[in-house]
Amino acid sequence: MFSCCWCCSALRPRYKRLVDNIFPVNPQDGLIKNNMEKLMFYSLSSPEKLDRIGEYLFQRASRDISRRRNGFVIIAMEAMDQLLAACHAQTLNLFVESFLKMVQKLLESTDPQLQILATQSFVRFANIEEDTPSYHTRYDFFVSKYSSMCHSNNDNITVRKQIRLAGIQGLQGVVRKTVSDDLVENIWNMVHMDKIVPSLLYNMQNARYSNKENATPESPTEERSDPPQFAETCMRELVGRASFGHIRCVIKPVLKHLDNHLLWVPNYFAIHSFRIIMFSIQSQYLYTVVEALMTHLDEHSQSPLKIRTSIADTLSKIISIAAGESVGPSVLEIISSLLTHLRVSVSRNLSSTNDEQLYQEALINALGEFANHLPDYQKIEIMKFIMSKVPYSKLDSITTAGKGDVLLQSILLKSLLKVGTKYQTIHLNTTFRPSFLQPLLRMSLASDAEMRLLVQQIFHTLIDRHKNINKLTKPTVNIIDLNLEIEKASRPDIIFIKKHGPEIYMALYESLELTSNNVDNVQSIYTTLALLTVELGSEETVLELLQLIMSLQDLALTSIEINTAIKFNLHAIVISLLVLIANVCNISNLMDYGNKIVRNRYKEAPHLLPDLCSEYGHLSSGISSSLLVDQAIVSECLKEVGLETNELQGTNYSNNSLQHRYSWVDNTGCNSSGDINDGTIELDSAGSSPSVQKKLPGEELTFDSIKRILTENSNVQMMEEEKRMQFSHLFRNTPFPDLIKKTQPKHDVLQSKLSEIFNVLNIEPRSQSIQGSTPSDIKPSQTPAYEIHFPELFVY
């Protein structure tokens, strides 16, 4: 029935004759160029015929396809391409329909060659800017078919690659064609994105370099011929065109694809693709991606930890890209949800497994990465925010913190440390706002030694501005070797330390009083103090610092609770700090004095010098006065450089702390202030007496002590007063060595007894001792508290 077309060609309309003429007799000869030009001229001069030409060409081509005369099909397509390129956009409207029908027809054929040809034509069409919206073109078939081609599994590898490339090109074409045109169907529709995105990703994940870390494509030139490479380009383009409302449509299929193809562990590809997304997306939407990934993490709350860890890791890898653009509430939102994840993770698994820890680490890393890229003022905000999330209890019930709380505290402090590390302090007063400093100081007295260590580390990183931190991690008396970088403290800093110094010093002092300290704690507090000295050392601050170290020495001499090793450690840091202060403030007399003590100690008691050890063997804890820092001489040195030394003699942190916090102790007769203004000898000789009597804060606050105080009648007080007077008289008038001889053995007995008690205490659950602080229930576990008090009182 088709044959009649040929015999009566003369009767046929002109355009049909023109079309027929472009086809050679033999398809191998290709398009007849002359006749093609004629056809082109005709269609240009009478554009109204264009749509019929298109339709006729299409019909011929479909006939040829069904007869498998592919040569003619290719010629017809070529003709259509040329017409499309030559004709003006306004006239294309209907021709386009035939053209697309033709492309579809070719795509429907099973011949890969025709499919590729069709795609090439389609891409050419996609690059034409149409003036008139083409609302009657439908692209869903193209999206479906091109996606299918992206997954081609042709037996022939070269053909497979070609088809896949064609598929990607086709998708790119569809995207180009539709995003710019509001009237055609919405390419961002989930139906389409669910096809396009996985197809691109599927090709990308086959890249060699996506399986390795940090690998880069070897030759970017072959982009057009390498499916993974090309898919990546296409992905970038797609993401780059996405507007706010469409981001989710792109991200969701990505996440789904990564889930389905198990690409989270290992997560190289996930990171790779998310990087691509982050770098191509319009920057104001960056945080949406982070948010989406975070939500995905939520959805994976039941998944194996490895997957969650990988997702969190991916998050940490991309979050920095988002940080630069994030502003306002979105920042806190991200931080907040990261913290929520941490909290959930902590509460889920108290017996921290290794995987869980890795997961937490990944989250903390993400937090740190994020903070790293925020402006400084936001870092402060974030630190404050994190600090506000730390669950801390009131001081007297510091041990109430359950196991989960402690874990959470330490996790949060770790995150805080991470953020702090990324922060560069400029002015201490902006870094340590009271609302941040106070909770931090409170945490520095936490019952968990490791937590205290963390807090000190936070201090280190925040105080250190001149990169001295590594030089000061260990106490030393050879300051010159350290090559410290010292800059004169600025005015605001001095004001800061004037205002908050006592508070900080007090906290550090009290922290050193705690019995659960180990060498690391002492060392970290040394570092904090040394950094403070280096950063803020000046004539105005030197007094307080010296006062503190005198108190520390005092503590080491008199405390009955801390063990001998720690006492030696304290002595070591005292001398290290003294030398450091003398050097930083450039007080030569003090330097000489410090060096003299160092020399003495080196000869007689090297254990009182750094480095700190946790075990000193059986060394006597007795120390001759020539090895100690003498307050009188220190005052002398200071006077020579013209510093007022009254303050140095006036107060003492051990007393200060008692007065400050437990002023009621005075009323009950504990002679805590007996040594104030007591001359200079008290420190090195008898100055220890009041401190020995003072009770440690830990014990002071128990219910029993309060109760005891209330029940004790004044008679007893009177007697005690008298006794004490005698004691102090005795102590003040006896030479120091004698005193030491007198007290030493008792100390040792006491020491052993105390450690015994503490062992008992440690075994007992901590919570019990806290409940004891409510009047209603006095637990038997409280008895040790008495035992602590009584021997202490009976020593003298």
Binding site: T110, H136, K195
Partner: protein
């Protein structure tokens, strides 16, 4: 817009003396089911008349087209053959939505493929149009080691309101019938809803429909 378009089509038709291989109906058929139940083989058998031994697993989605004649009408079947593997689930799901017919395939010699049917139904429920024509197919009846008796499959299909057929792609049993019945059923559905409107446009020549390919596409897409 639609009016404009119809008038253009009518105008075209008036002037044309066209004999072309085109269709009146276009239906999208999607095959789903576990990996290895023989979806690709069914499609190959139907579209190309061959049984490819050692067929590798489908990746993503495969596409085939087949034009058939039902009651003197040319019907074009777009057949989307999806991968059964779990990892391609997200992309295959996206093809359900536009389907006119879903063929759910299981292997009669493999109990697990039958056990998964409820999961597949749930997926279809979620992603496909609720008016989609659903057909349950037990494939590989040439196999000796049958595990699912015919009546079990039949019961299942009945319970879930599906058509049921047992086939063998290898022996070409019921394959042709499967697709032809789908085409006939879909055409029936399409006629009830849409046909009157387009019938008047059809100018027949030599018993063939003329170029209303567009109308056909529109009519069918409105099905979903």
């Amino acid at each position: 817009m639609k009016g404009l378009r119809t008038s253009i089509i009518q105008e075209k038709k008036r002037t044309e003396f066209v004999i072309m291989e085109d269709y009146k109906f276009l239906f999208k058929v999607v095959l789903v089911g576990n990996a290895g139940v023989g979806k690709t083989c069914l499609v190959r058998r139907f579209t190309q008349g061959l049984f490819p031994p050692g067929q590798g697993a489908t990746i993503g989605v495969d596409f085939m087209i087949k034009t058939v004649e039902v009651e003197n009408e040319i019907v074009k079947l777009q057949i989307w053959d999806t991968a059964g593997q779990e990892r391609f689930r997200s992309i295959t799901q996206s093809y359900y939505r536009s389907a006119h017919a879903l063929i759910l395939v299981y292997d009669i010699s493999c109990q697990p493929t039958f056990d998964c049917l409820p999961d597949w139904l749930r997926e279809i429920e979620e992603y496909a149009s609720n008016k989609v024509l659903r057909i349950l197919v037990g494939n590989k009846i040439d196999r000796e080691d049958r595990e699912i008796p015919t009546h079990v499959g039949e019961d299942f299909a009945q319970r879930h309101g599906m058509y049921f057929l047992e086939t063998s792609a290898k022996e070409a049993e019921n394959v042709e019938r499967l697709f032809m019945e789908i085409a006939a059923e879909l055409m029936e559905q399409a006629r009830c809803k849409e046909l009157p409107r387009y019938e008047q446009n059809t100018t027949s020549l030599n018993g063939k429909t003329t170029s209303i390919g567009d109308a056909g596409i529109c009519g069918c897409s409105r099905l979903s």
